[in-house]
């Protein structure tokens, strides 16, 4: 009844799919981290011009489904002249979605730094830049690293939804194999296993990276 041979025969496609999912997610993660850092920095400002747009962005993205966001980017934006290929759209959608969550996580970390520490830095004559980097960002990132890690693994898993606009990633390859073999269960069961491996690999790599980057004493 079950026939996994059709899936095994297409192992090259699967390897390629895993590679594209990793590439897609990595691009999304790097951009999301940039959005997160920028947004969190803007949120520290007391000017409403910076504060309000960031708040609206975070709330809108966090309270609407990723599927609707990616449909909006892919199907709606061409009507106002912005046209992108599916994979590009997927990267941007992942970056925007992950970015909104990153802003919240990083903000939480920055707020956990006691004010006295920042004042002490200023009293010692450190520059604004040094205070932001060494006193705020590094300890804050150390505190939120686990939360950020699981958010980025979630982003990788969410990237499977990008198959709905036929972006280049694992689930899309799976759908292609499925439409040629009609072995839906076998295909998706295998793919699910591959996602499990991907998330385990990412978890291990990121926690190793975290230990290297944020272990005491740094530098």
């Amino acid at each position: 009844m079950l026939d996994f041979s059709v899936v095994v025969n297409r192992w090259q496609d699967l390897v390629y799919g895993v590679g594209s999912t990793l590439a897609l997610s990595c691009a999304g993660i790097v951009l999301a981290l940039c959005i997160g850092l920028l947004g969190a920095a803007l949120q520290r400002s007391s000017r409403l011009i910076f504060l309000v747009p960031v708040r609206i962005f975070v709330e809108v993205i966090r309270n609407t489904p990723f599927l609707v966001q990616i449909f909006f980017l892919f199907f709606a934006l061409p009507f106002i002249g912005v046209r992108m290929d599916p994979t590009m759209t997927a990267v941007i959608a992942l970056a925007i979605n992950g970015g909104a969550y990153s802003i919240e996580i990083i903000r939480g970390g920055v707020e956990s730094i006691p004010r006295g520490q920042i004042e002490a830095g200023a009293a010692l004559g450190l520059s604004q830049f040094q205070i932001l980097g060494d006193i705020v960002m590094v300890p804050a990132l150390r505190a939120i690293y686990p939360a950020l890690t699981s958010q980025f693994i979630l982003l990788t898993l969410t990237s499977s939804v990008c198959s709905s606009i036929s972006a280049n990633e694992l689930t899309h390859y799976a759908q292609r194999i499925e439409s040629e073999t009609f072995r839906s269960f076998e295909v998706y069961f295998t793919i699910t296993g591959l996602y499990l491996v991907i998330s385990w690999l990412m978890m291990t790599t990121l926690s190793m990276l975290g230990r290297r980057l944020f272990s005491y004493p740094n530098q």
Partner: protein, 215 residues
């Protein structure tokens, strides 16, 4: 070709009805099973604990879309002639049970061990200890996270659109294909989701703030 009007809005709201219903069913079903998972996860018997941990890890380590596909096609393969509705509900219930189970596992373990020791010293049995001592406190602490998950689940039900279940996202897709006005239609769909999820998010974070003041 005609414009977005009352009938289209009505169709979207019909979709919203299924979104809310699917969320409610899987949240309640997932809550009941999730409670069992949480209790199994903190059980004294190692094998039960490990089984629950594996169950949780499987759902947390795989995409929701794949869970949906595997359960959906798996049920079909087992020759169960059940309709899409039931299959999708089962998939979301399983998904919710793993995540709620892990949230509640966390809050049960966050309670001081002295509570359990005191119960044991007073010869309070397992059922009464859980029902009267541990769970009321644990569930109260977990409320912000539980509400947060309800928001995630509401948004997650949009993926049922991909297997053809007509909820809000799929309704939006249909209307958008019909009117060729994706900017407007997906905009409205997004706004509807926002006004369903946002109040829950605000409620959850307000509760979190209130609780952190109490400590």
């Amino acid at each position: 070709m005609h414009d977005f009007g009352i009938p289209e809005m009505f169709f979207l709201l019909q979709g919203l009805k299924w979104t809310v219903l699917l969320t409610a069913i899987s949240f309640v079903g997932g809550g009941i099973i999730g409670l069992a998972i949480a209790l199994a996860r903190v059980s004294r018997v190692a094998i039960i604990r490990r089984a629950a941990a594996t169950y949780i890890a499987l759902f947390q380590g795989t995409p929701l879309l794949m869970q949906l596909f595997v359960i959906y096609y798996g049920l079909a393969l087992m020759q169960f002639s059940i309709d899409a509705w039931l299959a999708v509900s089962i998939a979301y219930t399983a998904h919710a049970s793993a995540f709620l189970g892990d949230i509640w596992r966390g809050t049960i373990q966050s309670l001081p061990a002295g509570q359990t020791e005191a119960s044991n010293a007073l010869a309070i049995g397992y059922v009464s200890r859980m029902r009267d001592v541990i769970l009321p406190q644990a569930l109260k602490i977990s409320l912000p996270a539980t509400i947060g998950f309800a928001v995630q689940l509401t948004k997650g039900t949009s993926l049922a659109a991909i297997v053809g279940f007509v909820e809000l996202a799929r309704a939006g897709q249909i209307v958008s294909n019909l009117l060729l006005q994706p900017l407007l239609v997906y905009g409205i769909v997004g706004v509807i989701y926002f006004f369903v999820c946002w109040p829950m998010s605000i409620f959850g974070s307000a509760m979190e703030k209130k609780m952190s003041l109490g400590r």
